[in-house]
Symmetry: C2
Subunit: 158 residues, 2 copies
């Protein structure tokens, strides 16, 4: 079973004709992000045999050469601390990140990319961007700007 997403159907089929604007909007938002996420997940698995959470983990580290603590990673990735422990254990095992105690505070660990991790992420990030452009790049510059702005408005209201 490798399906789940096919031709036309999606969350919006949940609606009756007369349902309200906010619900419609929410379902369309959900449809769009689910579709993009599903495709990115599949491509990452196919091409690099990795997952979205792991990609995100590396992406956070990539922009902070000095590294991040477990707790900071947890906050930035918006997932629980226990989850960070697990994912970082994987990535350490694979040699993509380094996890070493912080001398000044022995409760903490500093996590950073290894050179190998940096190389691996660079490759993935480039492909990733191309995939995203392939998925969203058909919007005109103007449409993209508008959408960006409207989503910012949505975010504000949350």
């Amino acid at each position: 079973m490798t399906e789940a997403v096919t031709t036309t159907l999606n969350h919006e089929t949940r609606l009756h004709e007369d349902d309200h604007h906010s619900i419609k909007l929410w379902l369309r938002l959900l449809t769009c992000s689910s579709l993009v996420e599903t495709r990115l997940r599949g491509a990452l698995r196919e091409e690099f045999d990795t997952t979205l959470p792991r990609f995100d983990f590396l992406a956070q580290l990539e922009r902070v050469p000095d590294g991040l603590t477990m707790g900071e990673l947890s906050r930035r990735l918006m997932v629980s601390g226990g989850n960070i422990s697990g994912i970082s254990a994987q990535l350490v095992r694979e040699g993509l990140v380094d996890r070493s105690p912080v001398p000044e505070n022995r409760r903490m660990f500093m996590v950073k990319l290894t050179p190998k991790g940096r190389r691996a992420f660079a490759k993935m990030a480039q492909q990733h961007e191309e995939w995203v452009i392939g998925l969203l790049g058909h919007l005109s510059r103007d449409e993209a700007d508008q959408l960006m702005h409207l989503l910012e408005r949505v975010k504000q209201g949350l």
Copy 2:
């Protein structure tokens, strides 16, 4: 990267200053739908002790009195078939849905709401709509229309 400094971190912290439009757009889309999803999930658990996937599952059935097959549910909800098997087993066990073999094609099962399921969903759906309005309702009619249209354009390109 304004948000990186604040306490309200989100997916967009993944970005460098000079990253490209499509990626920015995708991360903002993801941020918005994640935020809404998280809140709805929490509210559903708190108020009705249920989950978003189960609510969505019932919502799909509610608008199709004759029921849907497992495969159709999988396509509409955009989740894997294995997942549908699991969720439907739960809901059958709780008496909210009925799942019976299709005589004409013995590979399939037809799933429909039970009266109990219909009553339970009706209660939840009203609350759910109020929550969504609370989350997205601050947009003007005009903004909502524009956003709706732009997301439709995104969907088309996928």
